[in-house]
């Protein structure tokens, strides 16, 4: 076991972990959460390119700081590399992606196919979303599908996993082993329905939830209080969404253009009053993390730092939520390193071996 990290398959980083009793997936995120450790997840900004290196480079900045990476499915209805594609690349490199599935673009036939494909690639976590309306994105002329909604999507994947059947009742030979997630937004009306909606998602199959950006901690606290009273936090891991705001101007723009993000005036005033707004935005995220991590029932945070991904490591580090724990990190295996060291000279030494020389040395 020397040199092997925790939660890593001994035969290869890309292989699913050994199944554990009570776990529905063979992934790292579920292990971290079920061990009771404070989990950190983040979001990979999907590239507008066909170059795999773009994905790897964007994932690299999170190395050793996060437990799972969300592969977003055309968030905000903007076209990017697909979540299935990103997951295919990330699983190859041993990362633990959370495959987001939005109901906006695919009907139930395509979705169930993607679930099987994703699980076969080693995706252990799937996040079921309804998806933003197409009017919000860069292709407002697209046809909105919305064949399923997030709730029936959760139920569909749960049926596939637990009953080994498609929605139609047809049997699967190998059911997908996935840890099911959903999104919550406690910051949008109807506020008193939101906790019950979390309950509905749990009933439909959600095992963990990630919240929308939290900028209003008292509101989140009220929501969590209600969720605790209803017993939901025992049935489901709640990850609070946090992230840095680049400036007061960005905050205002987000407030008026991105649906579902609630930013109180106090936050904008605080940013406006700062010398370095970007730094203040980061500090604000850290302050919010320090507040929400103390709320009972919060099992982790979901750091969304759109176009400020390089800050994720700093935010996680400075807030100290990991308490010294280091999440899985992609690193070269010791034996591979040894072989590489020994053979390194062949890349640099210019040895010209001719047949006649070889014959001489052989004798």
């Amino acid at each position: 076991m020397t040199g092997r990290q925790r939660d890593e398959h001994p035969d290869g980083i890309d292989l699913p972990l050994d199944p554990q009793p009570g776990h529905s997936s063979r992934g790292r995120l579920e292990r971290v959460l079920r061990r009771g450790e404070f989990a950190v997840t983040t979001e990979l900004n999907p590239p507008d390119s066909a170059d795999p290196e773009d994905v790897y480079n964007r994932a690299k900045v999170f190395d050793g700081w996060v437990d799972a990476i969300n592969a977003v499915d055309a968030s905000g209805a903007n076209c990017h590399m697909s979540s299935v594609g990103i997951c295919a690349l990330l699983t190859r490199m041993g990362y633990a992606p959370i495959m987001q599935i939005a109901c906006r673009d695919k009907n139930r036939i395509a979705i169930q196919g993607d679930v099987l494909g994703g699980a076969a690639m080693g995706v252990a976590n799937m996040l079921c979303l309804t998806g933003d309306g197409v009017q919000a994105g860069d292709q407002p002329g697209a046809k909105p599908v919305f064949d399923l909604d997030c709730m029936s999507l959760l139920e569909t994947i749960r049926i596939m996993r637990d009953n080994g059947k498609f929605l139609s009742g047809r049997k699967l030979t190998t059911p997908p082993q996935v840890f099911l997630g959903a999104a919550i937004n406690p910051f949008a009306p109807p506020y008193d329905f939101r906790p019950y909606r979390l309950g509905k998602k749990i009933a439909a199959g959600a095992q963990f939830v990630q919240s929308q950006y939290c900028f209003d901690v008292p509101m989140f606290r009220t929501f969590m209080q209600k969720a605790r009273d209803l017993g939901y936090t025992e049935q489901c891991f709640v990850l609070c969404g946090v992230g840095p705001l680049a400036s007061a101007k960005t905050a205002k723009w987000i407030r008026s253009n991105v649906p579902g993000i609630h930013i109180p005036d106090a936050i904008i005033t605080r940013l406006e009053g700062a010398q370095d707004q970007k730094k203040e935005g980061k500090q604000l995220a850290i302050d919010i993390i320090n507040e929400v991590k103390e709320i009972p029932g919060v099992s982790g945070i979901h750091v969304m730092a759109y176009r400020q991904e390089e800050y994720v490591a700093e935010i996680v580090d400075e807030s100290g939520v990991l308490k010294g724990r280091q999440p899985w990190k992609r690193e070269i295996r010791r034996d591979d390193q040894m072989v590489a060291d020994r053979l390194d000279h062949i890349l640099h030494d210019e040895i010209v071996e001719t047949q006649s020389d070889l014959v001489k040395t052989a004798h």
Binding site: N78, C103, R104, R108, T130, G131, D132, G133, Q135, A136, G137, D138, Q139, P140, G141, P144, F146, D147, L148, D149, C150, M151, S152, E155, T156, L167, A183, I184, N185, A188, P189, P190, D192, F193, Y196, R197, G199, K200, A203, A204, Q212, W253, N257, P259, G260, H262
Partner: protein, 216 residues
């Protein structure tokens, strides 16, 4: 090359064989804004609302129905009983034969009252008498995360969110907690069929099955 270029039917007007690709958005504007700005200007500029909103101009009757959800719940229960009582009649005439006229009436009545979309699997009693098919995302299990702070829809800014209204309506109803049940996905093959007849036939079948069990 064929000269039958498809004519664009977008707001951008006819494509004329030249594909206009809008420039990339710079900071501060969404790509959607750029797309609509680069659309060629013509004399005819349709109102900047969703296609559904163009068909439907007012929500007052729908909102009235939500405000009176309790009364409508009571009325709907009686109405379902009457329909069930008429089951032998429907059976005698044949469900297939009454389908067309009943669907015609159902579509008009529910269309007027609830802006019904004839999904054929009515869940009004579980959704506070607010038809979930009017949601632009056709969500049947609760509001999405995009509801505006004023309780209006993300997609149609001047329409009150169907699910905000559903929650309000359900709070007035006797069996309002049915809103907490997880609904199955819509069976699209049942669209434009009568939910009234389906529920009646199903209830009658269930009643007969129960009766058969008791006598057996």
């Amino acid at each position: 090359m064929s000269d039958t270029q498809p004519i664009s039917t977008t707001a951008a007007g006819p494509a004329n064989g030249v594909q206009v690709v809008p420039p990339a958005a710079s900071g501060g504007v969404t790509q959607a804004t750029v797309v609509s700005r680069t659309a060629p200007k013509t004399a005819y500029k349709p109102a900047d609302v969703s296609p559904q909103r163009r068909v439907q101009r007012s929500y007052s009757v729908r909102l009235w129905a939500v405000r009176h959800s309790r009364a409508l719940e009571w009325f709907y229960a009686r109405f379902a009983d009457i329909f069930l009582m008429l089951h032998p009649l429907w059976n005698r005439i044949g469900y297939g034969r009454v389908e067309a006229p009943v669907t015609f009436v159902e579509k008009r009545v529910k269309g007027f009252m609830f802006d019904c979309r004839m999904c054929g699997q009515c869940v009004l009693s579980s959704t506070g008498m607010s038809c979930p098919m009017n949601c632009p995302k056709q969500l049947r299990n609760g509001p999405c995360g995009g509801v505006r702070a004023n309780g209006n829809c993300e997609v149609e800014p001047d329409m009150p969110c169907v699910w905000v209204k559903a929650w309000e309506g359900s709070r007035n109803m006797v069996h309002g907690d049915a809103i907490l049940n997880v609904q199955k996905p819509v069976d699209q093959s049942l669209r434009e069929t009568s939910a009234w007849l389906r529920v009646t036939a199903q209830t009658a079948a269930a009643r007969e099955a129960a009766k058969a069990q008791v006598s057996a």
